[in-house]
Amino acid sequence: MLLASYDLWAFVSANWEELLEALGNTLKVSAFGVAGAFAIGVVLGAARAHRIPVLSQLTAVYVEVVRNTPILVQIFMIFYALPQFGILLNQFTVAWLSVMIWGGAFNSENFRAGFQAVSYRYREAGYALGFGRFSTFLNVTLPIGGRIALPSSINTYISVVKNTSLMYVIGYSELTTTALNISNQSLETLEALTVLAVVYLALVWTLSVSIRLLEARLALPESR
C-alpha cells in the first residue's frame, strides 16, 4: 500500500536544507549540553568526593532529584513552570539548559566515583611536594580520576545527545521536530523516520566508536 510510494531519495533531496539546519541545531544543543555537563560534573563531583560542606549535600539532593524524576517532567518544569516566576526562556535556552542539568547530575556521580577511586597515596605525594589542596586536585586527582571517570561520563554525553530529541515537546526545531513536521505536511512518515533513525544511529555509533579509541589512548599507563 503506502510502502509502494516509499521514496527516501525524493524526501531527502526535497528537504535536505531544512534537515541539515535541524541537524545543526541538534549538534548545537548537544555541544552546549555536553560542555555544561562536563563542567558541572567536574566541580560537583569534586565537591562530593572531597566532602566539601554544604555544596556536597546540595549536590546529593540535586543528583537524587534529577535521577528520580523523568527528564520530560524537568523539561516541562523549565518550559511551563518557570514563566510563572517571571523567568521566560526561549526554546533554544530551555533545550540546552535541560539536557545540561540532566547530564550534569549523572556526570557528577561519574566524576565523584572517578575522583574517589584515586588512591590517597597519590594525593599524599602531591601534598608532600608542597602542593596545596586545590593544586593537588588540579595536578593529581583530576588527571587520574578524570580518566577513570571517562567511560561512564562518555555514556552520559551520548545520552545527552539522544535526549535532545525530547525538545520535540517544546517545539524547538532540532532534528526530530523538523523531520516530523515535514512528514506531517507531506505524509512521508516512513521516510522521515528513516532519516531520523539513520542520523541518530550514525551520531551515536560514531561517538561510541571514537570513544573506545580515545579510551585506549587515555587509559592510565598501569592499566594498559
Partner: protein, 225 residues
Amino acid sequence: MPDWVEPVARYILQEGLPGTLRVSAAAVVGSALIGILFGTLMTIRFLPLQALIRLYVEVFRGLPILVTVFIAFFGLPSVSTRLEFDPLTAASIALVLWGSAQVAEATRGAVQSIPREQHEAASALGFGWGGRHSFVILPQALRRLLPPFVSLLVNIIQNSTLAGVIGGLEILEAGERQSERLTAIPPSGIGEIHAAEVFGGVAVLFFLISFPLTRLAAVLEKRLV
C-alpha cells in the same frame, strides 16, 4: 488548600497513574522475557545469530527512545494497517524494544560470568542446551541480573512519560491536560496558571515512586555482587 487542587490531583491519580502503571508493567515483563531470551541466545557461538542480535541491541540502544516511540506509533501503521496501536500500547512496544536490548546485553554478561564447570556439570547430568540453561545457568545468572533489573524498572517508569508525547494518558499527560484546563475561563477552568504546582506535583509523584527503587537497586548491588 485551594479548591482547584483536589480535582487535579484526583485526575492525575485516577486517570494518569493507571496509564503509567499499565505501560510500565507491560514494558518490564516484555523486556525481561525478550531480553533474557536474546541475551542467552547471544552466548551461542553461531555467528549469524550473534550478529543479528547484536544489531538489534545496538539499534535499539542507540536510537533515542522517542524516535522508537514514533516508529511504533506512526511508522508501523504506514507499513500495515493491522499494526495500528493506541498510544499506550505503541509506547509499551517501543519501551520493550529498548528495554529488551538493555536486558539482552546484561543477560549475556551474566550468563558468561557463570563458570564453565556449571555447564559441564549440568551436561554430565544429562541436560540438553535448553534444560541446562533454564534449570542451571539462568537461575544463577538471574541473581546477578537483579540490580540492573531494578534500575531498568526505574528507567521504564520514567520513560513511560513518552507515551504522553503521542497522546497516551499517563501521569505527565494527565498533569499537562489539567494545567491547561486550569488556564481556561470558568466553568471548565479557573483562568489561572498553576503549571509550577501541577508539574511540581507530578515530579514529586515520580520521585516517590522512583526513589525507593533506586535505593533498593543500590542495596542489591552491594549485597549480590
